[in-house]
């Protein structure tokens, strides 16, 4: 079986100094094994 997750997330950096960038980034690679509760991205 397969799960497909579709979600909205920020794609741009906040330009005001002092603000951390809000861009969403995956921290997985294709082929990785992952478990429930582990971060897909931040």
């Amino acid at each position: 079986s397969t799960v497909v997750l579709v979600f909205q997330a920020p794609i741009s950096k906040l330009l005001h100094e002092g603000d951390s960038s809000q861009e969403f980034n995956f921290n997985v690679k294709c082929g990785d094994r992952i478990k429930v509760g582990e971060a897909l991205g931040r």
Binding site: S1, T2, V3, F7, A9, H16, E23, V36, G37, A39
Partner: protein, 348 residues
């Protein structure tokens, strides 16, 4: 007597020939799969290549096969035999029996064992408020950002399918005539009575026009496809704190969804039976599609126990629109915390 003698020779001959032929086919298939695996290890992307077997699949009574499999795996196993059966299953499918919440002889059938819960603490949830967690155990097949016309998700290199077909004519992701989605996003939108049906719209229109002086960041639409093997932990958890507003059930087919099937069967994930949950999280729209397969035809929702999947289908499938239910408790739908259990895949 003569003809009787001949026919008694004939039967074993034909049987042996059939077994040899099936064996040769299987050996050929294993050789092909090994070749594919070697190429993948070298980082060479496998391409979409429909074959005769894939088209042959559509003639098989897959749903009946799936339901028979479900009957078989629901049968009660004598208590003394259970540990042996489940250890054999674990060996065959590389399951981790240490994590099972109950002693093996407490699972009365293979189907019950398949949806086993895990011991407390087996799956710690990443508590970083900025992160999205995996809803299942499995293998990451594809992920990325949905851009441009049609918002296509790649099934395998050389073949993609539209996210709208996967999720359905979404009440939360309405499309324009050209198959794009439109945006009216603003940070301040809150679900009100009027806007409940279509209060989120997401734009994939490019080039993105964005006012750099605005304080709220631009939003994009992302996806991630995770494949569960039969031996994996099969419960589905919540990927974030979110409100589920709509549930959509597509009857569809029950093709296998293994690696070979994704490489040879066109539109696999939008043909197969699936349950789509749609809602909203802190960053906007979110949807989770649980796609079934021949051996795992049932999708159970703990948030809606009465939902029945993998039912015997009478009429042709494609014409049927998905059966939809709006979760409407006080207009905020079903509220789930990150890591909460929301459903499970099951056999048959």
């Amino acid at each position: 007597g003569n003809s009787k003698g001949d026919s008694s020779y004939l039967l074993p001959g034909a049987t042996v020939a059939t077994i040899l032929m099936l064996g040769a086919l299987h050996a050929r298939r294993m050789y092909d799969d090994k070749k594919i695996e070697k190429r993948q290890e070298k980082g060479i992307e496998v391409e979409f290549q429909p074959d005769v077997k894939a088209s042959f699949m559509s003639f098989l009574p897959l749903r009946s096969i799936s339901r028979c499999w479900g009957q078989l795996t629901s049968m009660e196993i004598p208590a003394w035999l259970r540990p042996h059966v489940y250890k054999a299953w674990a060996r065959a499918f590389h399951s981790n029996l240490e994590e099972a919440a109950l002693p093996l002889d407490k699972y009365t059938s293979l189907r019950e064992f398949f949806v086993r819960a895990l011991k407390e603490g087996s799956r710690p949830i990443d508590t970083d408020p900025q992160c999205l967690v995996s809803p299942v155990d499995g293998k990451i097949l594809r992920f990325g950002e949905l851009k441009g016309a049609g918002a296509m998700i790649e099934q395998v290199k050389g073949f993609s399918y539209p996210v709208f077909s996967l999720l359905g004519a979404s009440s939360l992701l309405p499309t324009t005539a050209h198959g794009n989605v439109q945006e009216e996003t603003s940070e301040s939108i809150k679900p009100t009575e009027k806007s409940k049906k279509s209060w989120w719209r997401v734009s994939l229109a490019s080039p993105k026009v964005w006012d750099p002086t605005s304080s709220c960041p631009k939003k994009g639409l992302f996806y991630c496809v995770i494949y569960l093997k039969p031996g994996d932990y099969n419960r589905i958890h919540s990927p974030a704190d979110w409100n589920i507003l709509v549930r959509r059930h597509f009857s569809g087919h029950l093709y296998p969804v293994n690696e070979r099937a994704t490489r040879t069967i066109r539109n696999l994930y939008i043909e197969n039976e699936r349950v789509v949950l749609e809602g909203v999280w802190q960053e906007g729209f979110m949807a989770l599609a649980a796609v079934g397969a021949t051996n795992i035809g049932s999708i159970e929702l703990f948030i809606e126990p009465e939902l029945q999947t993998n039912k015997p289908i009478k009429k042709s499938l494609n014409s049927e629109p998905p059966e939809e239910r709006v979760y409407d408790c006080e207009g905020v739908g079903k509220v789930l915390k990150k890591g909460d259990e929301l459903g499970a895949f099951n056999m048959g």
